[in-house]
Amino acid sequence: MALLEVSGLNKRFGGIRAVKDVDLSVQEGQIVGLIGPNGSGKSTLLKLLTGVHKPNSGSIRFDGREIHNWPINKRIKQGMAIVFQHSRPLHRQTVLDNIKLALLPDRVFNIHYPGDIEAKALQAARLLGLEDVVDAYPGSLPFGYIRRMEVAKALALSPRLLLMDEPFAGLTPSEVGELAELILSARHEKQAIVLVDHNVKAVYSFVNRIIALYVGAKIADGEPREVMANAEVRRVFLGKSMDEGQILQPSMASEPGGDNLLLDLDIESLKYGKAEILRNVSIRIREGEFASIVGLNGAGKSSLMKAVTGLVNYTGDVKWRGMSTKRMTTAQIIRLGIAFAPETRELFHHMSVKENLEMGGERLNRHELEARLEDVYALFPILRERVAQPAYTLSGGEQQMLTIGRALMQAPSLLILDEPTLGLAPVVLEAISEALLKLHQSRGLTILLAEQNLHFALKLSNSIYLLDHGSISWHGAVADFVQEVGDKFLV
């Protein structure tokens, strides 16, 4: 008997059919990859399985029992666990307390902590390489650690069915490999896993079966190799990217035209409280350049981007065309002609897609605004379909597209992108690469990119900065990067 047996599952949000007549079954011990383009209903499906959403129709049998109208906690006790696409740590508790929570039984008259909970929680933390940060508060940790903590919590429940929504998003290739190994080693024989991720390579090497969704419906289910070769899957999800698995072709960016220095950055130090995040970082970007900053999680990339846009304090200076921006507000810096798509997205959640984009084009006249809107819709067709939907109801990937789209609406001379590939399907990555290259080549747009996805960064940029523990440890052209430091990061 299958551990999980889903049939005829449907979920509608207003006019959108997020999940359409899905049938699937998962056996004990199976590791299933769930793939599909952005907005295809993967997260919704996982949320239906755990009970965060209730289906409009259909049946979910877990362990032989019909559970489709059980509350969440009952399903968890029955042996499910979920890692959400968006992390939800407790901010007032330390990492260790967060993990302890997962180990507690659901009993109201539970006055004492079980004697061994401390040890167990520490062990769970160690398993995921969190031993150094157990006493830290999640708010102070880089993204990657929080993702790992979420995985640690889910594993601590020792579920029979583990559901993971993009656990690898935002991690570098080496970190992905590490985390995948950790998960597999912590796993017990009979545990089944359903994994959603856009990192095809990671999914491919991790799972023994793949299910593909498209517009809410199942379009393929079977052996990984088969599914990856399926024509429809290639068309709607993979695009041409699979042929590029082989890492490096020379950068496709054109050489910068002029010698005009656009951005001249010298940061002596950037601190949060006592912790020094950046030290002696210098970056010079010429007009028409495409520069990428790469590095592990927590290396300080996002902080660097925030310093450039005046969102955090630092010592040192950032000059724009020779003019110091140190005393400027964020808004003033932006109005110099910089657009920023932050990692945290900062969308206007209760505004529609269109309203969000219009906020980006706030300083354009009506005519330019319409033209820009068309450009963005052409780049991300799904946004056109979702124009009236409030931003918070978009899927993770759709939100990312909206963030980038909103930045493009600003008609900038410098575009700063922090992790633009986070949670995007390969086919969309391809669209974005093409669009960025086009903007870069034909309109001479200068781009500064902070990115974990090395393939993406290397393919596009003409100069690379490697950020390591808050300092630039290497900088130069792409070709040299591959030779000199490549293997360390391209595992």
Binding site: A331, I334, F340, P342, L347, H350, M359, E362
Partner: protein, 292 residues
């Protein structure tokens, strides 16, 4: 039949003034995410200051009203600069608890304003003299011109506000700022300016509604909490952050109160409104027109 017309007309006038009274509260919540529990105190402040200048210094009515409104604007900026902004910027108050800190601060602020008003001007209710005299006969009942003018001004201002928020750029920015401040800043919009505008508008709105209310019902420092409560109920019933919602909610609450007062007994006035409020919220947790 006369009763019917009386309820209809009086209910309409009361509701329109309630609606205006709730607007400032609705605006500040909908855009800055702040439950300003000093709202009632602002209404009363404007009314008492206006009354004071009119009756002691014998200023002409419009000048007195203007000074009352000015006082409310001044205090509105004080609230922003002394309390809201520092709490917002504070590194020691956790992000997720800032709302409750601001809420408590406005509560304390309200007590301070009430205390000072009480101390300086005493606690007897003040009434602003009617704007115009005379009355007319419609539908078998007589209505003063003053009441009609009050209701008209209220509706006009609400209309303007609705337009300003939903149809103008600054309005959109204010809304956006309530959802993500960083988001607004990286659109190249100066947050500080947005907030100065917001608190200015708030001060004016609260000031105008205060003097209108006092011209209709009278005002005293003791009434401040009740006024805050009224605005709070209207805004929540309508759906937090929705001007349209607050508008309709005012009529529901206004008419329910008037109906009870006329048909049952004035002493039961608030009960049906409370009942409706609880039922609606349990059925529709985001209020009638809430975005969320």
């Amino acid at each position: 039949m006369q009763l019917f017309w009386e309820i209809l007309v009086n209910g309409f006038i009361v509701s329109s003034i309630y609606a205006l009274g709730a607007m400032g509260f609705s605006l500040i919540f909908g855009t800055a995410g702040i439950l300003n529990l000093a709202h009632g105190a602002y209404l009363v402040l404007a009314a008492i200051v206006a009354w004071f200048f009119i009756s002691y210094f014998k200023l002409p009515l419009p000048a007195g009203l203007a000074i009352g409104i000015l006082a409310s604007v001044l205090f509105s900026y004080l609230l922003f600069f002394l309390l809201v902004n520092p709490i917002d910027k504070s590194k020691r108050i956790p992000e997720e608890e800032k709302a409750i800190f601001v809420l408590t601060a406005t509560l304390l602020w309200s007590i301070i304003i009430e205390g000072m008003l009480d101390y300086v001007f005493g606690s007897t209710p003040v009434v602003i003299p009617p704007f115009v005299s005379g009355s007319m006969h419609v539908f078998e009942i007589s209505v003063t011109y003053n009441m009609i003018i009050l209701a008209m001004i209220s509706l006009l201002i609400i209309g303007l506000l609705w337009f300003a928020i939903n149809r103008t750029r600054p309005g959109k920015m204010l809304l956006a700022a309530s959802m993500s401040r960083t988001g607004v800043a990286i659109m190249g919009i100066e947050l500080k300016r947005v907030y100065l505008l917001l608190w200015g508008i708030y001060g004016i709105l609260a000031g105008i509604s205060g003097v209108l209310l006092a011209a209709f019902l009278g005002a005293s420092a003791r009434a401040a909490p009740e006024l805050t409560g009224m605005a709070f109920s209207i805004v929540v019933l309508g759906g937090l952050g929705s001007i349209t919602g607050s508008f309709f909610a005012s009529y529901i609450i206004g008419y329910l109160g008037t109906l009870t007062a006329y048909l049952i007994s004035p002493s039961y006035t608030p009960l049906p409104a409370f009942f409706v409020l609880v039922v609606i919220l349990l059925l529709r947790p985001q209020g009638l027109f809430g975005r969320f």
